[in-house]
Symmetry: C2
Subunit: 165 residues, 2 copies
């Protein structure tokens, strides 16, 4: 697994979410085992974590535009993946050296700057602004056809033991 | 339609979302015409707007708990319905007097206070704290089995003409 990071680009099929342990693989937003979910895939690209996602026609708000709750969901899962990558980096490891660390959302803030058009691929970019071992603040954007339509600021915390079943 | 409001309780089948014009009825979160969506239904109950929703097994985050993106989505749609009801009230009308006014989300803030257990009905309660003709701030909670697990503060704005197709 040592060199996965070097290949974690768009052209590779292994996303951060693919490195989560199986019990984290069911998430409606990004779980590889959830056939009904969005299956978001986030990749390290330089200093940022990037995902691309094309909403389905039923991810509509009003005709022509993407549902804001979906955008919040994408930012949420993408932020957890970004926090995981940053935690590995801070520990002098590369994401892919082992199972990705698991973070959960403590707070989510999304600003909808413009309506997001339906029918185009969205690009989600995120980075960590501040972090401790327990917590990371992730800032992010969603762009549609080169225009930023939403901005996120999300607080990720290490998954507490109480959530392990 | 004059007296719908008086009957808009849990036992009635007409929710605020059922009063949206048809082009607002496709929303992934609450559109009555979206067979793939959550179809959230929000009702005026006294001074608050209330919805109940039981997540499906695939609305999972980690085993046993509800996906936070779904919770954000429910709070989002519920807040738009709450803003619509408040706008009608401020205009000395009752929700149901005519098509419900349409609001869209400008900003969404969710605090996840505790993990939300999967498998139980959730109760979402909201009210408007401040409003103008153009904008409303909606505060809300999600409870699972009587315990508040998430809190929302959402800024709703009247849908701009640019979003009408």
């Amino acid at each position: 697994m040592r060199y996965l990071y070097d290949y974690m680009t768009r052209s590779n099929t292994l996303a951060i979410q693919d490195l989560y342990p199986d019990d984290f693989g069911h998430c409606f937003g990004c779980g590889r085992h959830n056939a009904h979910g969005h299956q978001l895939k986030s990749f390290v690209e330089g200093e940022e974590v990037v995902a691309r996602f094309t909403p389905s026609p039923h991810h509509i708000s009003v005709p022509g535009f993407v549902y804001g709750g979906l955008l919040a969901s994408l930012l949420d899962c993408h932020a957890m993946a970004t926090a995981a990558a940053a935690a590995e980096h801070a520990a002098n490891r590369k994401i892919g050296d082992g199972p990705a660390p698991r973070f959960v959302t403590a707070a989510l803030h999304v600003e909808y700057l413009k309506p997001t058009p339906l029918g185009v691929e969205l690009e989600i970019r995120a980075s960590v602004t501040t972090r401790t071992d327990r917590k990371a603040v992730v800032v992010s954007t969603i762009s549609a056809a080169g225009t930023v339509t939403a901005r996120g600021e999300i607080v990720a915390v290490r998954m507490p033991d109480s959530m392990r079943k």
